[in-house]
Symmetry: none
Subunit: 204 residues, 2 copies
């Protein structure tokens, strides 16, 4: 398996290389340290698998993955990041990235993920990831929030006022206010600040 490591932290990048370079079926064919370099490298030497960080200079991992998978549908990408946040995980899933691993994983988990992804499987089955992925569902179910209510919460998180949300959704301000009232009641919260904190903590 020809592997490219893309991570702007050189010590991490080199560390991973050192960690897996002696595996019998793995060949590190390159290391890059920013987003643009990934696409440039792939054009010249097509790897089988890319270990891809999110936070990189010039272009972030999400953009890189999206561009690459359009041009190279058979390319396998494993997102390798410190963030267990649902929004990243979902974004990578939407794009079609095959694996997602946290930086506090072990060498064994990394190798298992690489091999499994190489064989064509999707690897998002990390404990922490799964807990985070289903948090929205469980949160919504737990508190009996409706679709519309969740939608309103998402706009509130963007700092929008009732009026702005009403305009966006072609509703009356009264309606949006009713939704807000019901949300606060259902979640037993005092005000919007409280709500945003709660929503962030529960992955909405």
């Amino acid at each position: 398996m020809k592997i490219l490591i893309a991570d702007d932290h050189q010590l991490f990048n080199d560390g991973i290389k050192s960690l897996i370079i002696n595996e019998f079926n793995i060949e590190i064919i390159g290391q890059v340290y920013d987003g643009n370099a990934v696409t440039a490298f792939v054009k010249k030497h097509l790897p089988d698998i890319i270990l891809l960080d999110i936070n990189m200079p010039l272009m972030n991992g999400i953009e890189v993955a999206e561009i690459l998978l359009e041009s190279y549908p058979n390319l396998k990408i494993i997102a390798l990041t410190m963030y267990a946040e649902p929004k990243y995980i979902k974004e990578f899933q939407r794009i079609g990235v095959q694996g997602y691993l946290l930086k506090n994983a072990s060498k064994d988990e990394l190798l298992k993920t690489i091999e499994s992804v190489f064989l064509g499987n999707k690897m998002y089955n990390n404990k922490l990831i799964i807990n985070n992925l289903h948090s929205e569902d469980s949160f919504v179910k737990l508190h009996n929030l409706t679709k519309r209510e969740v939608e309103v919460i998402k706009f509130l998180k963007e700092g929008m006022t009732s009026q702005a949300i009403a305009d966006k959704l072609f509703l009356s301000v009264f309606t949006v206010d009713t939704h807000r009232k019901n949300i606060l009641f259902k979640l037993n919260l005092k005000n919007t600040a409280d709500l945003i904190k709660y929503a962030m903590e529960n992955g909405i």
Copy 2:
């Protein structure tokens, strides 16, 4: 040189070990993955040098360094982190930590820093630190906030109103409102919902 690696990202921790384990004068005597484990390990097996991350569970690197250097003045510590934040660098200097290295340093820089610190030198003169002083703009913004402003944010996160915060801090509501006004201006945010989201994302 007996070295302890303290970093909660196992892949990074193991990667560093793998990277330097074969250096002739280096012996990795331990690896730990949270702040409490550092002090516990040092009690049992006194290392010469600790490679210490800032972000760790249970206790952060700054606290760990401060505690250790009080009890073990001859211990050498190298802060090994992704943050090129002047506040962190100054804090570590104040405590008396001997080295500060960024995670995007090279293996050579790491080895040079380790050897130099072992010989009794202070190693903060890293080019990368200086170059990266102005990145991480969200963090820079964060640190433009005053103590009081951060305090107010924390109470806002609890869903408290200006009046409630004023009562808690024995201030006038006017004062609290002034702080809120300044916070929104400094962070370029529209309202409290926006602020709470920002605060959560930046770990305030």
